[in-house]
């Protein structure tokens, strides 16, 4: 469509993003519109506060974690390319897209998805989910419904289930192993409208 292609031109590095993330041009365009919508002051950069405009996100127990997952450590802003790259984790895995060895693993592989999930827990980015980190997530999700005590024992138990090397924390490998039975592709994909 003519209008599309014209606006495609406004998007920086659009072609490259398509290449890199596997989103179609239409997807990118749509996401760009969304990006602009969120980017209230038109700086081309999103700040964490901008996500506050999404009302539902405030109700999401792990909403702020998700937001912070968009920002790489130390960075306060997010440009469109990174925005799309993060969202690319949630693109359904495509079976027909041949992966050449040279290319890095795409974000939407189940490994990429898992990594994203993992870092939601791993706030201090030390490659391990400590008990405290797990507990935080649990507390956010279970919140009012259970007591602190119960939360702790749940965390304890969850850690024990996954913790194979007995270091009282879940490393990424352990994390991956504990979710082996889960179909990550299904659980961590959404349908992006174009």
């Amino acid at each position: 469509m003519g209008s599309n292609s014209s606006s495609m031109n406004n998007i920086p590095n659009a072609e490259q993003l398509v290449q890199e993330t596997g989103f179609s041009a239409a997807h990118i365009l749509r996401l760009y519109e969304r990006f602009q919508f969120l980017d209230k002051d038109d700086t081309g950069q999103l700040r964490p506060e901008d996500f506050g405009a999404v009302r539902e996100l405030a109700m999401n127990p792990i909403g702020d974690r998700i937001i912070s997952a968009f920002f790489s450590p130390g960075q306060e802003t997010l440009d469109f390319a990174s925005f799309v790259r993060v969202l690319a984790h949630f693109r359904p895995a495509d079976s027909n897209r041949t992966r050449d060895g040279a290319q890095p693993e795409p974000a939407n592989s189940s490994m990429g998805k898992l990594k994203f999930a993992f870092q939601l827990y791993d706030q201090d980015r030390d490659g391990k989910i400590s008990r405290a980190e797990l507990l935080q997530v649990l507390r956010a999700m279970l919140g009012m419904q259970v007591t602190e005590e119960q939360l702790q024992s749940i965390a304890e138990r969850a850690i024990q289930e996954a913790d194979f090397d007995q270091d009282d924390a879940i490393s990424f490998d352990e994390f991956r192993k504990s979710l082996e039975k889960v179909n990550i592709d299904h659980k961590m994909s959404i349908r992006f409208l174009s």
Binding site: N60, L138, V182, I190
Partner: protein, 908 residues
């Protein structure tokens, strides 16, 4: 074994056959007259009420036998019997033996077959069907190849053959009334009740498409094709019009839930595939019944009168009937949920409501000519969540089991009678063209329909349905009893070839259930269909799933899409805000979090396997000491997993007698009681926990006092006794706690320490006893906090005021206070004293370091015992704030210090 059962079955059948004979022989002679003259209103009326099958004809005969003589009423049996006797053939002369002549003397015993015949036959048939199942299930090597449903049908053939052999007429067939009113509802209710809702709704779109469009497609294509072939002359001379073909198509279009579940249950395909086939089969039953009614009406109207208006009316009625039925079911589901909110006082019949209301939902829908099947499906689906949390746990189990008993039972009966119904010469009209073409078209159009619809759906689905899954879905298009039930409902006057349709339906059913059923498993294996992973329940996985859900919602929000995660989230919010509030008990609402439930379940499982393991090890200890520990664990719930091993380990330290087993040191990291590999530890744990238990155990003074009560289950649950158990437990804990303390240091000394003191002192190394008290206090917190919502942080303050620990539990017990002091000094359990020394040596270092190789375990091992034992007194404190001061003087303080270092990180 199997032989015995076969023999038993044979006996039953003999009995039955002979009994049916009694009803039967006479009609041979006056069949025509009997049919006309009796019309047997009364009898056949209540006959159908029961069973499966013997149906109108049978009862008609019965009464006709009677009617020659007396009224049709079963009350008159003796006379009826005698009347029959006259015409009966020899072999049941016994029946009439006591017979009917005017009574001249008082009969001591009399034979009253007719008095009981109907319910008796019903019960007998149920028994026979279930025995068939029993025989089948006893032969595992057979069922692994041939699905049970197929075998049941074969048994039906045999039984039917016997009846036919005896009667020369098929006495028992599956009648629509019996099937739709007494056999089908419970199967469907069970399906709805145990429906995995989340899975269902996330595939709802696809299921609806298959169920509605797919079924219509099947019906239309089959009807039209057959008609076309008819026109082309492929079937010879048949009196079937286009509308009748369509009617036939609609009745046979639906995939049957009973057959599908029976087959797919044994195959274990992946859950998405399963829910598609299963959901489709459930919903399209509703659809097919609606279609059937519409076409039936069209046939009655006659082709000439059908114009656009009628067709539009038909379409409208289709939607009204389907959605109305669903809505009605929904309403009934809400009703059940509401009702179970207030059935606390009648727990015994509380499960009954579910069945009664479910059945009423079905009947009401039937009454309003809405879709009864859809109604009961949705009723089951929407009440499951609420009743499961509203009702008592045992009631939930009851519902679940009774549901299964009913569903499985009637499923069995349905299949057996599907078999029996076939052995009837009168219905068999063979028309090769019609039958073969039907089979062929059904098979082919099912494939075409599924593939076409999936092709469309895959354009919209996040996870496309794979090719292989499509094959299985198409191949899983089993037809079943619903089709047969509808076929027999056809009006023979309007549809001349009813019998041909009935027998074609039967053949289709046999073909799909038996042949496709048998080949399904090999096909699934051969095509390497993704199976359901038999995964163990793990907490981390459930937690993660929840994170995934939230994550997807967030991502949809951020990327500004309204996808199905978004919708689900909205629904969840709505559900939580309104429906749960209205429909759930407040108490149930509290603990309904999914992760929490899983956790609870896991804990229960652990507790169970713990006991089982202990018993398996055969230690006499387990025999001598009952396992109060388990109760204890249940009571305190989850926080225990962590503490419990410690307690066990603790005692282990000190029992010289038992410590022989304790070869290996207890690992310093907290032990997982369910971990299988730590054998050495486990043994000691077991032994020691027994010891511990013994002390805390209540031994009932009276042995079981069985009281019969219709409304209560509990035996021996005396209020006083419960009280006493509680008090005793508390006292003994206090004692041991106190005595342990006193053994080392004067209580006074300790009491003086406020929390601050301790805090200050602790770090620098302190007197042994102090550090000890510190720990115990800490653990105590942990332990007792389970119920009070005050978090750790809160407890960091001075004396924690806890809310009541458990209703009725924390009574202030005057008798118990005075006791304390004297006892305390006297009794220092040796192991405790010892342990103290142990731990006290260690304590300082423990202060300093979070995880010494062995210290923490030792410490923690030690602490919890006292802690756990002493924990109750903190409840006391909380309950009786007034008494607190007093207690303080007597008891060591339950200091509320900050968590020990190794826990700090929990709190951040």
């Amino acid at each position: 074994m199997a032989a015995i059962w076969r023999f038993a079955l044979f006996l039953c059948m003999l009995l039955m056959v002979s009994s049916s004979d009694t009803g039967h022989e006479p009609p041979e002679e006056d069949a025509s007259s009997s049919k006309s003259d009796t019309s047997s209103g009364t009898d056949s009326g209540h006959d159908t009420s029961g069973d499966s099958g013997q149906s109108g004809t049978d009862s008609g005969h019965d009464t006709s036998g009677d009617s020659g003589q007396s009224g049709t009423d079963s009350g008159h049996d003796t006379s009826g019997d005698s009347g029959q006797h006259g015409t009966d053939s020899g072999h049941d002369s016994g029946d009439g033996g006591h017979g009917g002549e005017p009574i001249t003397t008082l009969p001591i015993v009399s034979w009253k077959w007719h008095h009981v015949s109907t319910p008796y036959l019903v019960a007998l048939w149920i028994l026979v069907s279930w025995l068939c199942k029993l025989i089948i299930e006893a032969n595992h090597h057979v069922t692994s190849v041939i699905p049970e449903s197929a075998l049941l049908i074969c048994f039906g053939f045999i039984l039917g053959g016997m009846i036919w052999g005896a009667d020369k007429v098929q006495t028992f067939t599956l009648t629509p009334t019996v099937f739709f009113f007494y056999l089908l509802p419970q199967v469907i209710l069970d399906a709805g009740y145990s429906m995995p809702n989340k899975l269902f709704f996330s595939n709802m779109g696809a299921i609806l498409v298959y169920a509605v469009i797919g079924t219509c497609w099947n019906a239309a294509s089959l009807g039209l094709s057959l008609w076309g072939c008819h026109m082309g002359g492929a079937m010879g001379d048949l009196d079937i019009g286009l509308l009748q073909y369509l009617l036939f198509g609609s009745l046979i279009a639906a995939v049957d839930p009973v057959a599908v579940i029976a087959v797919f249950e044994q195959v274990h395909v992946n859950e998405v595939l399963f829910i598609m086939v299963f959901g489709e089969s459930l919903l399209n039953d509703g659809v097919t019944v609606v279609l059937f009614n519409v076409f039936d009406a069209f046939v009655s109207l006659g082709g000439a009168k059908i114009n656009a208006v009628e067709i539009i009316k038909g379409i409208i009625s289709f939607f009204v009937v389907a959605f109305g039925g669903s809505l009605l079911g929904f309403v009934f589901g809400l009703l059940i949920s509401l009702l179970t909110r207030c059935t606390k006082n009648i727990q015994i019949i509380e499960p009954g409501f579910v069945f009664v209301l479910g059945y009423l939902a079905y009947l009401t829908a039937e009454m309003l000519s809405l879709s009864a099947i859809l109604s009961i499906v949705f009723c089951g689906m929407c009440c499951q969540k609420y009743i499961n949390s509203n009702m008592d746990e045992s009631s939930v189990t009851t519902v679940r089991y009774v549901m299964k008993v009913l569903a499985n039972g009637s499923e069995t009966i349905i299949f057996v009678f599907l078999g029996i119904s076939a052995i009837d010469k009168t219905i068999w009209v063979w028309n090769t063209g019609f039958i073969l073409l039907t089979l062929f078209f059904i098979f082919v159009y099912r494939f075409i329909g599924v593939f076409f619809l999936t092709w469309i759906l895959n354009k919209f689905r996040l996870v496309p349905v794979e090719f292989i899954d499509q094959v299985i879905m198409s191949y899983g298009g089993l037809r079943g009893a619903v089709a047969y039930g509808l076929a027999t409902m056809l009006d023979g006057n309007k549809i001349k070839e009813k019998n041909l349709m009935v027998c074609t339906t039967l053949i289709v059913v046999y073909f799909t259930v038996i042949l496709q059923g048998i080949t399904m498993k090999p096909l699934v294996t051969w095509l390497k269909v993704k199976r359901a992973a038999a995964s163990e329940l793990t907490l981390i996985e459930k937690v993660q799933n929840k994170v995934f859900d939230h994550m997807l919602v967030a991502i949809e929000d951020i990327s500004g899409q309204i996808g199905h995660n978004y919708m689900r989230d909205k629904w969840n919010h709505f559900e939580e805000k309104w429906m749960s509030r209205i429909l759930m008990k407040p108490s149930a609402r509290k603990n309904r979090d999914y992760v929490f439930k899983v956790f609870h379940k896991l804990n229960l499982k652990d507790a169970m396997s713990y006991v089982a393991e202990g018993e398996r090890r055969g230690s006499l200890e387990f025999v001598r000491n009952e396992t109060a520990f388990v109760d204890f664990k249940k009571k305190f719930g989850d926080e225990f997993t962590e503490v419990m091993p410690d307690i066990m380990a603790d005692t282990s330290e000190d029992h010289s007698g038992m410590s022989t087993m304790r070869g290996d040191p207890v690992p310093s990291v907290s032990l997982e009681m369910h971990e299988q590999n730590m054998n050495g530890v486990r043994e000691t744990e077991d032994v020691n926990s027994h010891h511990l238990l013994q002390q805390h155990l209540y031994k009932g003074r009276k042995q079981h006092r069985h009281r019969y009560s219709r409304s209560h289950f509990d035996v021996n649950k005396d209020e006083n006794e419960v009280q006493e158990i509680f008090q005793r437990t508390m006292r003994s804990r206090l004692e041991s706690f106190k005595s342990a303390k006193m053994g080392v240091a004067p209580p006074k000394h300790i009491t003086k320490h406020t929390k601050k003191d301790q805090l200050q002192k602790m770090p620098n190394g302190k007197s042994l006893d102090k550090s000890r008290s510190y720990h115990s206090g800490d653990e105590d917190f942990e332990f007792s906090e389970g119920d009070s919502a005050s978090g750790f942080e809160a407890s960091g303050g001075s004396f924690p005021m806890r809310v009541t620990y458990r209703a009725g539990a924390g009574i202030e017990n005057p008798a118990f206070m005075p006791d304390l002091d004297p006892l305390a000094q006297v009794q220092i359990p040796p192991w405790l004293a010892e342990a103290e020394l142990d731990s006290s040596m260690v304590a300082p270092s423990q202060r300093a370091q979070v995880r010494l190789p062995w210290t923490p375990s030792n410490l923690r091992r030690l602490a919890p015992l006292r802690i756990s034992t002493h924990s109750t007194d903190s409840f006391m404190l909380a309950d009786a704030p007034g008494a607190q001061q007093r207690d303080n003087e007597r008891l060591p303080p339950p200091p509320p210090p900050p968590p020990p270092p190794h826990r700090d990180d929990d709190h951040m």
